[in-house]
Symmetry: C2
């Protein structure tokens, strides 16, 4: 069989190559550069095709496709969310994504996105906090110490300047794992025995718990004036983390309202509850935090544009550093109309 031409190949970043790529740049630098890349694409918000994600729901979880395009590139992510997976030693969330050229429809990158989603989620949170958190915030409470927690801690260190994280999880083993992973990171890490204890002295609180249910991770009395809440664990219908009273006291910032009203904390509120679109804060079209005493809430659910930014970022970096392999994914007959001839010739003994 004759080898495929260069047109047949799509660069692929495996999990192993993604990890090599991240280490070749440095985790904190990646988080900083991703935050900048996502922020840049938020300034181009109106260029993008936007749609709520397409979900396939089952009793155990959801499989989603999240496409978007800026007219030059098209990207989509496949992502699942299956909270009971961990009981079988599987990930709750796994993902991969694709970037394609809009003018030809040809893919230009296939990439693992389990690691990349963890990075972009943390980078998005930190980017939002850069605009919304009180000035000089140094201490963050981190409630929910699962797979996303260390990424959040490192992003807030790199992007916002957080110096201490105060950890709490209903499972002490998760807290111990998070603390162990953050040892040597340069962050002061304090393991706490309750959410209340974790909140002591914190200017920012991040909730990233994983149960698929209406939960009350934070109650109203825990949230003092001036706090920035980064609520990212509520990300599907029926899954929230905050008591409704907190939402009533907060200025709420969201990515894409039609999606957040279905999936975010604000699914608890009426369909016309006022929210501000984060991209408008970044472009200056809307106000972010307006006083030191205001409670700001980033109701983050994850949006396709963030994955697009992340795919474009790793595409550029991987091509430069060689952290990819070529996949023979696109049929490339010499004559584009001769797909059958290519197939037939592939079966001829002389070429097989």
């Amino acid at each position: 069989m004759t080898p495929p031409s260069h047109l047949a190949y799509v660069p692929f970043i495996s999990v192993e190559n993604m990890m090599r790529l991240v280490h070749s740049i440095g985790v904190e630098t990646v988080l900083k550069e991703l935050a900048d890349a996502i922020e840049h694409d938020f300034t181009r918000w109106q260029l993008f095709d936007k749609t709520p994600r397409f979900g396939c729901h089952s009793e155990t979880g959801v499989i989603e496709l999240m496409p978007t395009s800026d007219g030059e590139f098209y990207g989509f992510k496949y992502v699942n969310g299956h909270p009971t997976n961990t009981k079988q030693g599987l990930q709750t969330v796994t993902a991969f994504g694709l970037l394609a050229n809009v003018s030809s429809g040809y893919p230009v990158l296939l990439s693992e996105m389990t690691v990349l989603t963890a990075l972009r989620t943390a980078a998005t949170s930190a980017m939002a906090a850069r605009h919304l958190a009180p000035k000089g915030a140094k201490v963050m409470a981190l409630i929910g110490n699962g797979a996303q927690s260390e990424f959040q801690a490192m992003a807030f260190k790199a992007v916002v300047g957080i110096e201490e994280v105060r950890l709490y999880d209903i499972d002490a083993a998760a807290t111990a794992k998070c603390a162990r992973n953050l040892a040597g990171s340069g962050l002061k890490v304090t393991a706490c025995r309750s959410s209340q204890e974790a909140m002591e002295g914190a200017q920012i609180v991040t909730t990233c718990t994983a149960d698929k249910q209406f939960a009350t991770i934070l109650t109203d009395n825990m949230i003092g004036d001036g706090i920035h809440i980064n609520a990212i664990g509520g990300d599907c219908p029926g899954k929230t983390e905050l008591h409704k009273d907190i939402l009533l006291r907060s200025q709420i910032f969201v990515e894409y309202p039609p999606q957040t009203r279905i999936e975010g904390e604000i699914q608890q509120m009426s369909a016309d509850h006022p929210v501000t679109e984060l991209w408008q804060v970044i472009t200056g079209e809307a106000e972010g935090r307006t006083s030191a005493s205001q409670i700001t809430l980033f109701d983050g659910v994850g949006f396709a544009i963030e994955d697009f930014s992340a795919l474009k970022y790793v595409h550029e970096r991987a091509l430069k550093t060689g952290h990819f392999v070529q996949l023979d994914m696109i049929a490339d007959p010499d004559d584009p109309r001769d797909l059958f001839g290519m197939l037939t010739r592939a079966g001829e003994p002389a070429l097989a």
Copy 2:
């Protein structure tokens, strides 16, 4: 870096392995087995999640995601359609697809689908004709001799028993290519100088032209009583092949009405123009051809369930024959909550 565990791997069928797989089984056997697999899934039609595909349209073409699920497996296809690509030596249509386990959300197969889509499109057409074409049909006119044409010819030979194909294309080079590829296939191949000439003696006519425009490949006077029309080139808004008068005389069969009314020949008709769903003919809930003189039209646009059937078919066959490689696509930390630890340890010099 420690090697990924088996949970990290997704079997991948490259273009080369797809071609090897097809030849190891035989093209005609694959087409027959695919027709049977698709027919079987059409009998389970009501089990499937169904939605019109999600398109990203640009000036040069469209990129689409076509998901579906039967509750046990989830499948989707990425496919582009860019008619001007051939001018740059690229394929008009390229595709790849994924099959996943619904209960865990984990992918079980990634596959090229440019070759596979050509096979499943032809198998679907032939499967429809098995139910709709006049009994004993032996001659098929094949109008449009591009990338799909030989697949149609071989599927109609294998599934319907066609013995002669009569070729016509506005580009004589395409006809010559098609005739060359079908030499030795066992089919009598006749190159014609007009659509009219191609129709002489044919009981079936297949139109598979590729221009993205309202075209009139067949006019009313060309279609005699009893003909089965297999119209598959009209597959997006603004792209049709048949004169409206033919549609008015035909019993029209479609895959999924909400999609076909947007993309198929019937986009020329009112939104309530009567059509029959092919799956109901197969299950016996609706009548197919009711007389020898009736004109039947399969207005085929390609539906996600056909891709799902095709992915399931090649998944089973590839795992048996070994025509795949393993891709490290799923991050698999020892502790599912310890994604960051997996990333950190990957960067440690001792393991790097």
